[in-house]
Symmetry: C2
C-alpha cells in the first residue's frame, strides 16, 4: 500500500484518461467520481475502476469524444443521450435541467441513455441532494444475478440509491446493490483469496458456493430473498425498458470482454421537499434523532462521511498493484 | 371455515360498515379493497381487518362522514386531504387527477394525508397500473420495527409496492413490508399458536425471539439486514415528513388502543411508460420471458392472480370466528 493525497488521485485519474484519448470535460467528471469514491473509502468504485475505463476507450467501444445531448420530453421528464460516451459527463449535462424541472413540477425524472456507467450511484446523486432535493437513482448492469428460486443469471446487480438532504449536516444517503453483494466485492474477495459468505452466490450448476471464482462464473443471489429479487426486477424494468434501454441480459449478449463499463440506462427521480410542506426537514430530524438514540444504530452514509473527514487531511492508502497498473496505462 | 362467494363478502363488508356509521361511498371503497384481498387469498388484508375498521368508527377516531379534498400543488404534485376518514375513499378521490398529471408531465406524485390506512398497497395501485402507468406506493404505519443494529421500535412495517402494466396479461405487481414479516402475519401466527421463524423479531429486551406475543410486545426486524433497514427508513421519510405527515413513532405516541387503522400518510408516484419510448412494454416482455424460462422462478403477483381466478367461481374459505365476529358487529 502507498498513501496518496486526494489531489494526487484526481491528477493521476485525469491524466491516465486524457492519455487514453478521453475529452477533457469527461476526464474531469470521471476523475471527480473516482476521487470522491477513494475519499469515502469506497474502493470498489475508486482507482480500481480506472483500468476498466481505459479498456472501454482502448477497445473503441466507448467514444472518448462523445458530447452528451439533453432532450426535454415532457415538463417533468428529461432524457440525456450519452452518445456512447461515459455516464458521468452525461449526468453532468442534465443535472441542472433536472433540478429546475423538479422545482417547477414538484417531481421530475431524468433518463440517461446510451452511456457507459461505472461509478457509484451515491456519487451521482449527491450533487442533486446537495441542492436540497430528495433523489433516487437506479442503474442496470451486466447480467450477473439469478432471480429468487432461479439457477442462472438474469438481472444485473441493479443498485438503488436514495438521498435525503439535511440542513447543516451530511445528507442521509444509501446506495446498495440489490444482489447480496456487489460484483466488485466478489472480485475483491477473489483478489484477496478469501471465501464468500454463504448466501451470496450460486455456481454454474445453480448450487450454493463460497468460491469467488465459481460465483463469478455462476450467478450472484439477490439480497433478502424474494423481496430483494422483486426490487432487482423493478430496477431492471425502470432503468432498462422504461427508458428505452437494454435489460442486463441484452447487455450481456454484447459479450463485452475488455472489462470496461457496459452500455445501458440510468434513471434519476427527484422530489422537491418544499412541494407539500415547509416542515419536511424538521419532522425528519426528529426521526433521525430517534434513530441515533438507539446505541448500535448508524445512518447509512456515516462510514463514508467519517472516511471523507479523515482523507481530506490524511489522503488515502492505495494498493501498490492498482497504482502500478494505472501508471502503466499512462504509456 | 365456511365458504362465501365474493359478492357475499362484499355485501357483508359494506353492510357492517354502513351499520357502524360509515358514509356509503367510503363503505363501497372499503368493501371493494376487502373483497379484492379475499379474492386474492391475501387474508391479512381481507375480512380480518373489518373489526379494526369498525373500531376506528366506534371510537370516533375516524370520521365516517369525512369528504376527502383534492388539492393540486404543482403540475406534477397533488395532495388529497383525507379529512380524518379512511384512506380508500381518499385515494379514489385523487386517482383520476394523478393519472392525468402523470400523462401530461411524464411523472407525478400524489400525497394522501390525514387518512386512516388499513388496506393492501397492491389494491391501491392496481387501478392505476390498469390504466397503463407504472406506479409506486408507500405508506407509514405504527412504529413496530427496530432499525438494523437497534433494540427497539422505530419504523413502521413500511411497505413498498410497485406495479408494471402488461398488455393483455395480469400486471407485474409486488407489495411487501420492509420488515421481515408484516405485523398481520405475526398476529395470524399468534392466533394459530405457531412459532415465528428466526430473524423476524426481537423481544422487549432487544433479544431475538420466536414467540409471536414477545415479538408484538418487542419489535419486528427489517428484512435483508442493513439494506432492508435503509429502505424502511426511506419509506418512513417519504410517506411521513416529505408529505407533512407523522413518522410511525409519532403515530405510536397517539396510543391508539382500539385496534383500528392509524392515521398517517401515503405516497403514490406514477410514471407514464410512453414518456421516453414506445417500446417499453415490448422490451419488458423479453425480460419476463427470460425470467419465466428458469424453472423455479415466479413473478411476484402470480399466487394472487391464481387465487383470483379460483375465487371468482368458487368463492373463498372464511374463518368462522372472523365471520361471527363481523356478524356480531352488525348489531
Amino acid at each position: 500500500m502507498r498513501r496518496l493525497s486526494l489531489s494526487a488521485i484526481r491528477e493521476l485519474s485525469e491524466q491516465v484518461l486524457l492519455a487514453n484519448g478521453l475529452a477533457e470535460p469527461a476526464a474531469r467528471s470521471i476523475a471527480d467520481v473516482v476521487t470522491r469514491a477513494e475519499a469515502d473509502a469506497c474502493r470498489s468504485h475508486g482507482l480500481y475502476r480506472i483500468p476498466g475505463y481505459v479498456a472501454g476507450l482502448r477497445s473503441g467501444r466507448v467514444d472518448g469524444q462523445a458530447v452528451p445531448r439533453l432532450e426535454p420530453l415532457r415538463p417533468g421528464l428529461l432524457r440525456v443521450d450519452g452518445a456512447r460516451g461515459f455516464a458521468p459527463p452525461a449526468t453532468d449535462a442534465g443535472r441542472e435541467a433536472l433540478v429546475a424541472a423538479t422545482r417547477s413540477n414538484g417531481i421530475a425524472a431524468m433518463a440517461v441513455v446510451r452511456a457507459h456507467h461505472f461509478s457509484a450511484l451515491w456519487a451521482d446523486l449527491e450533487p442533486i441532494v446537495a441542492l436540497g432535493l430528495v433523489c433516487w437513482c437506479f442503474v442496470v448492469g451486466q447480467s450477473s444475478v439469478a432471480p429468487h428460486g432461479g439457477t442462472r443469471r438474469l438481472m444485473g446487480t441493479n443498485p438503488i440509491a436514495f438521498g435525503w438532504p439535511r440542513s447543516g449536516r451530511a445528507p442521509f444517503i444509501f446506495d446498495f446493490a440489490t444482489s447480496a453483494a456487489a460484483r466488485g466485492e466478489v472480485e475483491l474477495k477473489r483478489l484477496a483469496g478469501q471465501d464468500l459468505p454463504s448466501g451470496w452466490a450460486i455456481d454454474p450448476h445453480g448450487l450454493p458456493t463460497n468460491d469467488p471464482a465459481q460465483a463469478l462464473a455462476g450467478a450472484l443471489l439477490p439480497f433478502g430473498g424474494h423481496k430483494g429479487s422483486a426490487l432487482s426486477m423493478m430496477v431492471e424494468l425502470i432503468a432498462g425498458p422504461l427508458i428505452g434501454e437494454m435489460t442486463s441480459r441484452q447487455v450481456q449478449d454484447l459479450k463485452i470482454a475488455d472489462g470496461g463499463p457496459p452500455p445501458g440506462g440510468q434513471l434519476f427521480i427527484a422530489f422537491d421537499p418544499s412541494g407539500v410542506t415547509s416542515s419536511a426537514g424538521l419532522i425528519a430530524e426528529t426521526f433521525f434523532g430517534d434513530a441515533l438514540a438507539q446505541p448500535g444504530v448508524r445512518l447509512p452514509s456515516t462510514r463514508r462521511h467519517e472516511a471523507r473527514r479523515r482523507s481530506a487531511t490524511e489522503g488515502v492508502e492505495v494498493d501498490n498493484h492498482i497504482y502500478e497498473t494505472i501508471c502503466a496505462l499512462m504509456l
